[in-house]
Symmetry: C3
Subunit: 451 residues, 3 copies
Amino acid sequence: MRRFSSTLVLAGIVGAAVLLAAIPARAEVSSETQYVFNTFSFLVHGFLVMWMGAGFAMLESGLVRTKNTATICLKNVALYSVAGLLYYVIGYNLMYSNVGNWIGDLTFFYNTSEAELALLNADTVTPELIAPVVENGYSVMSDWFFQMVFVATAASIVSGTVAERIKVWPFLLFVVVLTAIIYPVQGAWTWGGGWLSKLGFSDFAGSTIVHSVGGWAALTGAIILGARRGKYGPGGRVTPLPGANLPLATLGTFILWFGWFGFNGGSQLALGSALDAAAIAIVYVNTNLAAAAGLLAAMALTQVLYKKIDLTMTLNGAIAGLVSITAGPDLQNHALAIVIGAIGGAIVVIAVPLLDRLRIDDVVGAISAHLFAGIWGTLAVAIFGGGDLVVQIIGIAAIGGFVVVTSSILWLIIKHTVGLRVNEEDEEMGLDKAELGMEAYPEFGHGSQTI
Amino acid sequence: MRRFSSTLVLAGIVGAAVLLAAIPARAEVSSETQYVFNTFSFLVHGFLVMWMGAGFAMLESGLVRTKNTATICLKNVALYSVAGLLYYVIGYNLMYSNVGNWIGDLTFFYNTSEAELALLNADTVTPELIAPVVENGYSVMSDWFFQMVFVATAASIVSGTVAERIKVWPFLLFVVVLTAIIYPVQGAWTWGGGWLSKLGFSDFAGSTIVHSVGGWAALTGAIILGARRGKYGPGGRVTPLPGANLPLATLGTFILWFGWFGFNGGSQLALGSALDAAAIAIVYVNTNLAAAAGLLAAMALTQVLYKKIDLTMTLNGAIAGLVSITAGPDLQNHALAIVIGAIGGAIVVIAVPLLDRLRIDDVVGAISAHLFAGIWGTLAVAIFGGGDLVVQIIGIAAIGGFVVVTSSILWLIIKHTVGLRVNEEDEEMGLDKAELGMEAYPEFGHGSQTI
Amino acid sequence: MRRFSSTLVLAGIVGAAVLLAAIPARAEVSSETQYVFNTFSFLVHGFLVMWMGAGFAMLESGLVRTKNTATICLKNVALYSVAGLLYYVIGYNLMYSNVGNWIGDLTFFYNTSEAELALLNADTVTPELIAPVVENGYSVMSDWFFQMVFVATAASIVSGTVAERIKVWPFLLFVVVLTAIIYPVQGAWTWGGGWLSKLGFSDFAGSTIVHSVGGWAALTGAIILGARRGKYGPGGRVTPLPGANLPLATLGTFILWFGWFGFNGGSQLALGSALDAAAIAIVYVNTNLAAAAGLLAAMALTQVLYKKIDLTMTLNGAIAGLVSITAGPDLQNHALAIVIGAIGGAIVVIAVPLLDRLRIDDVVGAISAHLFAGIWGTLAVAIFGGGDLVVQIIGIAAIGGFVVVTSSILWLIIKHTVGLRVNEEDEEMGLDKAELGMEAYPEFGHGSQTI
């Protein structure tokens, strides 16, 4: 008995030791709790980014003329829909499933994991069913949702630049290929774990991968489509074609700013630990500071240059500030976020007239705000200590080259097959009557600047 | 001493065993954490649904004529307020408190639980105070908040259909009864645990219980009110009375889409486990896919049928896709969500002219998008394996019959007492001047289509 | 051996006892989980409050005349930016860092804690790194973010009142001082832990600290600026200058209402326990009930007084209901929230014509909705049992006196140096052309009420 008891004692001590090792520290987040937090972060931040679709729609509705307003509304809701379907059918797999250096799987549809299905369909929930689900760190479809709203953003950028002269269906055909193939392929290089990722290219939430991709596609589109009738006259004359509804453009900017907390904050890709939560908070703060600085820089610069404040430029300044900080919103020195954003805002004020001098007609200023500021932001990561400058340049150039080539080919194919641009009469009349047979504001009379 | 020690050893071992049983598995979410997650899900998803009130307001503001725009704005803010008060005073108890087969308690006001009050008012928080609170799974008032925003949605649906000819106060009187009694009573049958629930009627987030209820009430209202002056002429002539501000209608659609993640996602009614989080993610994805498919289906169909894309129909296509998926957004095969949504979108395009042929004047297309697509979505649950078709039909018919009868009686009582419809002159002049003495856009001149 | 073993046994038992004490109860939220919840609450509720910036922009855009619409849009985005930068550079430290009785540190910039930096920059995350971070309860910058959006709200209130005649840059100069110094100093007295806090002044989310501060600054501004040309004629004649776009004003109200769940809900300052979650849910419910009651009270009162429903007053009624409940949204008797909100709504209807009689020209009704309803709400806390009435009056008076004096001095300094008001011609022409050289709605013709 005594021997037995001493054996028991030893067993008891060993047991106590095992217990000590197994007990979670009081401070720790359980792995299932982490899973819930991470999933909820994708969903909450994802719905914020989804809402940016409304932001682009309002911004662009406010900056086109009345005769093309219903059409730009239609394009924005339709492109979001196309992006969402195509990214489900093809895009996500191409970008994230078994990516080697260049590209993921070309398989159709994307569904939840077998582990999640087993858990969801079980009669009784057991730890054995939960464990493999939790191991993934977040729900499979929450990640899909979050990534999907990003591809829609890239497509939204294009729509503003090429507004007021492009046909609806050919534009959507471009969006099909952009969101199914072009965006996912280059996305696989970095976020899918491909060659740029291995090289160390750093782009936290997509100054390059999302914004400059949209910007390059917009640039090639603007060049291939040509300018709107009446925009550029002989001798370098530029006729302003002012937006018809500036409160809507302001609303759109506010929506984008609001949604950007999801765009950048969610790109931490996790929430379920003190580290992740603290990191996301920093991202929010930098995002806000950069936007504020971009807005005020653009506003002040237009006052200095033109002796009047330009509201449209000012709004684009905020957007450029946001785009600029998107590659590195995890900066721990917040004052740098102000610097990065302010430079982004200044870039817009300088770039918009430059593009006009090149007779590249960008209706809403998207190329300046998304492409140029996106490049700046991606470089800024290295300049301020978050990456290698050469690698950043390689990333910018590789993605830029790829998108310029593929989107140019695509625009040209569409142009020479189904056609890209409405005819002169339809452009004069406005796309709303020509393509939709309706007016955006049928009861509002015609004011001083109807063109 | 040794004997004593061996007794101690045994005690130690028993203690260790007890400990082992008591220690939470490393992966588990603690029950208080679950409570917080579940409560926060109700609040976050609830504020998204609340925001849908703005969506209906903007959609309807965009689709009426300028002379009735301020009135429709007023009706939308007022109905949300009425719904929120009445559901507090009567509705919630009727729908959820001690429901037998048919109806809950007819008691006034709804307040938090005694367990929560004890916890909130304690000088020291103890596990004994927390336990009974946590046992409920979620905070009492967070559930109330989430359910309240649903009843407001049902009322919003009515407002769009009967716009441009109904008087403000009588409309709000209808809303009082709808939100205090009609909606809660039929809601008790399924969500309150009543007879339809026992029968196995399946309606995840309310294709029937919310959307078709609003739709039936709208349909009876449209019939009893009659069409707007000038809408239907002799020989089946239908005069389009186009909406005055399509960007606002587009914004409204985006808001509804955005809010629908709350509507469907929150209807999982829990977030605090891997299973719930994974389920909500699936719901978000299906919700988005169905909306996208509904929009594109409606858009393509209008192109085919009318040779032009109809923006209003296209927006309603997205809404119909959303309504369609609402009964079963927990589908694990996402491709089916696309099918369900696309059929929903097509239904709108077919139903809108059918209603016109019947001279039922639905200003914003709400009957098509909410009632017909709601029926379709509820049937689709059974068709795609989530319920029994006969039971689904019984549920649709019972709820439909109840709402048609009660709302018809209510509309008729109002009509023959305080009156329902403005007089001809007021309708001609517009409700804004007649009922509010103001204009929605006093400075905008009158364009080509002022009617 | 046996002696040794009995020593071990004792050690084992002691160990087991220690373990028992150390193991978290099954129901408890771990401290790191609490940190994540609290941080996420600041972020989610913070982005809702940020969105209120868009609400003020839309409300004010809808309530000014077209000729001043672009300018009010500009002011709203710019003031949000100024507030965000200044609160980072100076304001937060002044309000929250080492506050004695009167004021915090006058140091520049605000950054995350060393504990968080150590965690974020560690190669390996260890419990020793997590512990000091978690001890703070929430991420440092998430708190900053949440507090920052509040200061922006205070500035937004001013902008509406002084619209249509103030110059852009001088207005922003006022906002600089308001958000860098005036707001933070009085905020330190209560929320920073200063003398009012020690006295027991109770203002949950800022009926006085945010809303009446904005209201007092607006009132002094309105008096010092003077009324708009043509607003007040001889013999007490008041000319209505109706808002140009009521759907935007409605949208703005919806946005404010939506954002207010963040404003009040987040002011619980924690989410990571059942108590906090239950408390936040109660706050949401009271917030909604008070807004609904305020809206319906104002609506009914305008019907009674003017025989027509006034949409603008009705919208302001909702805002006043929200402001009223902001000092005490943690009321456990929800019926009282209805009473408080309804009185708030009635206050607006009574106060707006009173101010007009005093020839104080408040373009959007912000003084009535934010100052008067804010005072009412702060008193209501004491009336309904949540504080001492004398202390509440002291708080209201002290903060009011401070803001009236400092903001008057500031307005006067600006007036007599750079100038505050546009000249008569510019006011006649509209600020959009004068200050921005553009029109908000260049294509919309001029309707019946262009003034």
